[in-house]
């Protein structure tokens, strides 16, 4: 027999899963620390790539001067400033992404709570249906 109430609930949940739920369910499958950690690591990688690009542009811009001065300049000092700049850049970018992903994780969890409640309700409806059927058979 078709159970109308259950079909309605399942449809509602399937709609959620198809739309915003898809992302949230993916996020919800992680522990908080794992999710945020993974995203921050990804951010650090992309931030590093961005920094390398910017640094390459910077060198290229003054390429002739740079090549002329390369034997005279304090290479150690230059590397030190570059590394300090890199660390500041990466740290601030990682902090921003930490904030963003913490917010996202909390939001996804909150949204999933409703979904999990619906799941419980669904399983309750199932149980009820099975019991009813068994009862009728007896």
């Amino acid at each position: 027999m078709l159970n109308e109430e259950r079909i309605k609930l399942m449809t509602k949940m399937a709609c959620y899963e198809a739309d915003e739920g898809k992302k949230n369910v993916a996020i919800g499958s992680y522990f908080r620390g794992d999710y945020i950690g993974l995203q921050v690591i990804k951010s650090i990688i992309s931030g590093t790539i961005a920094f390398v690009i910017i640094f390459a542009m910077y060198i290229l811009y003054d390429f002739e001067v740079f090549m002329a001065d390369i034997y005279k300049m304090d290479l150690f000092g230059f590397a030190k400033t570059a590394i300090v700049d890199y660390l500041i850049f990466i740290a601030s970018y990682a902090m921003v992404s930490y904030g963003v992903y913490t917010y996202r994780y909390t939001k996804a969890r909150r949204s999933l709570k409703n979904y999990y409640n619906n799941l419980k309700k669904l399983s309750y409806l199932y149980d009820k249906e099975v019991k009813n059927r068994d009862y009728k058979e007896i």
């Binding site: 079909i7 399942m10 449809t11 990804k42 931030g47 690009i53 542009m57």
Partner: protein, 318 residues
């Protein structure tokens, strides 16, 4: 006003009925418009301007995700710039890459703002974007709008200085590169526009969330005024040669446009017809969930009043 409301209801009904077809068509039109705009403003590569290529790309965009349009637009722009000058393409590639790597990791949904901002710039109504994004987005949308402005100014600077770039010799690659980078970093108009747009998005967002009557309208007008104010102030400070009349007229037109958008798009829930499938122990379900229309649009009823022939005859006789 009632007619408009009815019209809106009908539009909503129409959309929910044919959503499956309307969305791809809209995407196709957006992609087509984007490509035509890019081709007409920086069409250096003849191959990309061919009708078949434009059509095929637009058709591809119509059934692929929205972000694909942004990707295609960026690729076509780079293609044109490649033909124009390799250095310019390098700089534009770096700008696009940085935008992509640093920002779009966070908000892939906002990418459409990055596409629409340059389009609005070409249409001379860029002021629509910060107001609209402030109304429907979050303060973070400011970054998208700013990115769009950066993309537009980068490309427009390159095409505007085409004659200057052509004077460089072939082996002066570094000088050319330096000239382009200098021009971009010294582009005060770009920075003032970015400041104005970011401020507008944030202000519009906060005002429209206030719990006062007409907060949306107040937000729009305040945003537009702030935008004009910052642009004019920047113009006075840095002599950026903004056309004052252009800014004011553009802002007025933008507010009107956003008002229209608000009525037809932002305040209407074009809830979609959903097709879902799932199963339980006994059945497979293929469900089409159609949203209920709360306010029904009145249907036109034509009532014909016919005078009985007998009465007509009687009248004639009298």
């Amino acid at each position: 006003m009632t007619t408009l409301l009815v019209y809106r209801e009908q539009l909503k009904k129409f959309y929910s009925k044919y959503e499956l077809y309307i969305t791809p068509v809209m995407k196709f039109l957006l992609a087509l418009l984007t490509l035509v705009m890019i081709n007409s403003s920086i069409g250096y590569m003849g191959e990309l301007k061919r009708f078949v290529v434009v059509m095929v790309l637009s058709l591809m965009c119509s059934f692929l995700p929205m972000n694909f349009i942004v990707f295609v637009a960026a690729a076509v722009t780079l293609g044109h710039l490649y033909k124009f000058s390799l250095e310019c393409m390098g700089v534009a590639l770096v700008v696009f890459l940085l935008l992509f790597i640093l920002y779009f990791r966070f908000s892939p949904r906002d990418t459409i703002a990055v596409l629409l901002t340059p389009l609005c710039f070409i249409l001379k109504i860029p002021y629509v974007m910060p107001i609209a994004m402030g109304l429907v987005g979050t303060p973070v949308s400011a970054v998208s709008v700013a990115s769009g402005a950066v993309a537009y100014y980068t490309v427009s600077y390159m095409t505007n200085s085409a004659s200057m770039l052509n004077t460089f010799e072939d082996d002066e690659t570094l000088e050319k590169f330096r000239y382009v980078v200098d021009g971009l970093l010294g582009n005060k108009a770009m920075f003032i526009t970015i400041v104005a747009f970011v401020a507008t998005v944030v202000v519009v967002y906060f005002i429209r969330r206030l719990s006062v009557d007409y907060s949306w309208t107040i937000a729009m007008i305040t945003g537009a005024l702030l935008d004009v104010l910052i642009l004019l102030f920047g113009d006075l400070m840095y002599n950026t040669k903004f056309s004052i009349v252009g800014v004011i007229v553009g802002s007025v037109v933008s507010v009107l446009l956003v008002k229209v958008l608000e009525f037809f798009v932002f305040n209407v829930d074009y809830s979609r017809t959903e097709f879902v499938q799932f199963e339980d122990d006994e059945y497979y379900y293929y469900v089409k969930a159609v949203p209920k229309n709360t306010v029904a649009a009145p249907q036109k009823r034509v009532k014909t009043i016919r005078v009985p022939e007998k009465a007509v005859r009687q009248q004639k006789r009298d």
